[in-house]
């Protein structure tokens, strides 16, 4: 990133140090910036940071800064502020913006309605291109979110079509808007979840899309720059859940220590309680372990292979579901595919395991006189456990989605825990069958 003015270097300095500053220091650094740099910097902050900066200011200063924000951003800031400060912040706005913000606050933060801006450019179908351009020139003064897509509405605010500013600009001046607009507009229902909204944006490369209610009245527009944030945010949530914890919902260095430990301890303790069943399962086979201690040596190897193959399968399916590459109806296709994959992967690991025990036994007596039986037990158990891990890992996300939960909750650690207990049972059962009459 190259920059030219010296004022800019200061903004860069503040940005650089931002993460490590206390709220007071942030405000202080912010106040040091020249006014025009400060505006850019303020606009580039996250809603949470904007709220923090605003709440540290005195009332008059606050008003100047909050009025810089478009209504959708003000709504985000208000949502980040503590309950008791919200009315005070809303009181700083001019009447029109306040009405818009209050309307936006009625939507859930994760809905299309919570992402949209009510300030979009609009035209009537019977205007000429020339009239349309000068009408738009007047609308520009109202700080529209974008003038690059213009929506053509009837008298009831229902969507008739869309015309890009660029089309308008290159059309003959006396044509009617009706004749150059596109009628097959891709629209977003107001209650659609933001993850789905981002999928629609990924599918069509539009800069903005209109949000409509059931009567096809346009409530606002969602612009692609907000979608970049949504995609990043959703991916972070999924990644953190996949790591076996609650989503932090805040940058790593900014979240409080106790809040972070709480979000991690919950899942970690739940997994620990689940994993305790392995001690119970092992207890069932205590007599067998006492007779053939060699069996115990392979327990970590066996259960981790089940966990790892389950982790691969669940990660693949969770991401494919999140991107819409796979839907609930595909579960049977996915299962057949994963059955074959699990069998192939299990055979590979089983062969490696068999070879390893065979080769070691050629040079040492560590696995005792019955090493062939040990090798066979480990190999067969690996095929069974990898297949089982793969199936559980791939089907669990479907099951969670079907029950209305987030598939990302079937994280690697969660799948591993599920598979560990059954993996032990598979392993010792195979051992009982293979070694019956010799070691056991």
């Amino acid at each position: 990133m190259e920059r030219t003015t010296t004022a800019d270097v200061e903004a860069a300095d503040v940005r650089e140090a931002w993460a490590v500053l206390s709220p007071e220091e942030r405000l202080e650094g912010f106040r040091l910036l020249p006014r025009d740099e400060a505006s850019d910097f303020f606009l580039s902050l996250t809603a949470r940071e904007q709220a923090d900066v605003l709440l540290g200011m005195w009332a008059g200063e606050r008003r100047a800064w909050i009025r810089l924000l478009p209504p959708d951003d003000v709504a985000d800031v208000v949502q980040e502020a503590p309950e008791e400060e919200r009315d005070e912040l809303l009181a700083l706005l001019d009447d029109r913006t306040r009405t818009e913000v209050v309307a936006l606050l009625a939507y859930a933060e994760d809905d299309a309605g919570g992402l949209m801006s009510p300030r979009f450019a609009r035209l009537r179908p019977d205007m000429s291109v020339d009239e349309a351009i000068s009408y738009l020139r007047r609308q520009t003064r109202e700080r529209l979110e974008t003038i690059y897509y213009v929506y053509v509405l009837d008298a009831e605010q229902r969507l008739l079509g869309v015309v890009s500013f660029r089309d308008l600009f290159s059309a003959p001046p006396d044509k009617r808007v009706r004749d150059i607009m596109r009628e097959d507009v891709v629209t977003i229902p107001e209650e659609m979840d933001q993850e789905q909204v981002s999928q629609i944006f990924a599918e069509h490369d539009f800069l903005a899309m209109p949000v409509v209610d059931r009567e096809r009245r346009v409530k606002g527009i969602v612009t692609v720059d907000d979608i970049v944030d949504v995609v990043t945010e959703e991916a972070t949530e999924d990644i953190q859940k996949l790591g076996g914890m609650e989503a932090l919902d805040a940058p790593y260095l900014e979240i409080g220590f106790l809040a972070m430990v709480r979000k991690r301890a919950g899942w970690l303790s739940a997994l620990f309680l689940g994993e305790m069943l392995t001690a119970t399962a092992m207890g069932r086979f205590e007599a067998e372990i006492a007779r053939a201690v060699v069996l115990a040596l392979f327990v970590p190897l066996i259960i981790s292979s089940g966990g790892n193959s389950g982790s691969q399968a669940s990660t693949l399916v969770i991401r494919a579901l999140a991107l819409g590459e796979v839907t609930l109806r595909d579960w049977w296709r996915v299962m057949r595919r994963e059955f074959a994959a699990g069998l192939a992967l299990g055979s590979i690991l089983g062969s490696i395991g068999f070879l390893r025990i065979t080769i070691w036994s050629a040079f040492s007596t560590i696995y005792g006189p019955h090493w062939r039986l040990v090798a066979l037990t480990v190999a067969l158990a690996l095929v069974g456990i990898v297949l089982w891990g793969t199936l559980v890992g791939s089907l669990l996300p479907f099951g969670l989605r079907r029950l209305g939960f987030d598939p990302a909750a079937s994280s690697a650690p969660f799948v591993a825990t599920l598979v560990d207990v059954t993996g032990l049972v598979i392993y010792f059962t195979v051992a009982l069958v293979v070694m019956h009459g010799s070691l056991l």
Copy 2:
């Protein structure tokens, strides 16, 4: 998504069935679409799908479709086509586009240069606003990527400033471009990695940014709609690596079975080979296990707790690094934080483990007469292992980044494997100390 015309419904049908169609069926379905629907549909496909469709067509048909694409998209399509088909595809283009595409192909696919379009709107600083608008009207015919940001260049194509079309549109007609342009332009160096480019877009909410070389000459622009794809693609790669496999680089249902198994088997086998060290480590303690079989019962519980806490820590740090929330220089801060977190989490799990063994022993004799020592061993080992897992998990991504590798490779399964071996050593060492003279 609401749509109005019936032709549209057909495009929706083709899109719906797309994933399950063979290449021939895809082409067939595509040819059934009415021409204008087909164009939209074609443009909404991924580069790989566009390449597949094109390669199935006869030459004349190919030409018509490939010429529909802007140069940056053509470059992506050519990169997706097999080596031997590339020249043939390039030969279909008009001379100017071919020159542009060949220039773009020189950039790595993941660099800013590989993302950019060379067709941007440009102005000279001394034009009046009125002249600028009619000059732009002429440039529009050349299928510019966007007219919404216009770059002001000197005679050597060096960047002087930027003016949004919107500013131009609302400025007095006789002002000079020089007087309304912004000079502090955020630029992207041509060799910057696409993940960093997407971070800059997330920071500044621009629709487009100019890509410049070392002399500040503008080579092209990157638009935000391409960034949505980049963010999604990078997140998918990271998520798949975190699941303990190579990134698939293709949708789950589209990648060939063998290619998928290969990408999974590599890591799975590597992890398996690493995990074999657990058998060696357990072998070292075979005598202790034979004397106190009760120790073996807790092995899965102990090692999985280390793996789970490591997985949480590495996931957090990897994502924070990917988003730029944390940089290499923060490793010491992160380590201090994770040391405290690991100690807290270890104490929680240790307490639960101690309680569980104590309570069970009140009602049964499963853990023998020395259950107090068993409980103490498990509790102390848990504190040590969770702390160790947390530290390894949080520092490994820094180490990988420092050595020039992708931090996302330190996946949950990888960290778990690393921690398992040391976890066993910690557990049995604690046992030797605590149980010395009684059980061992």
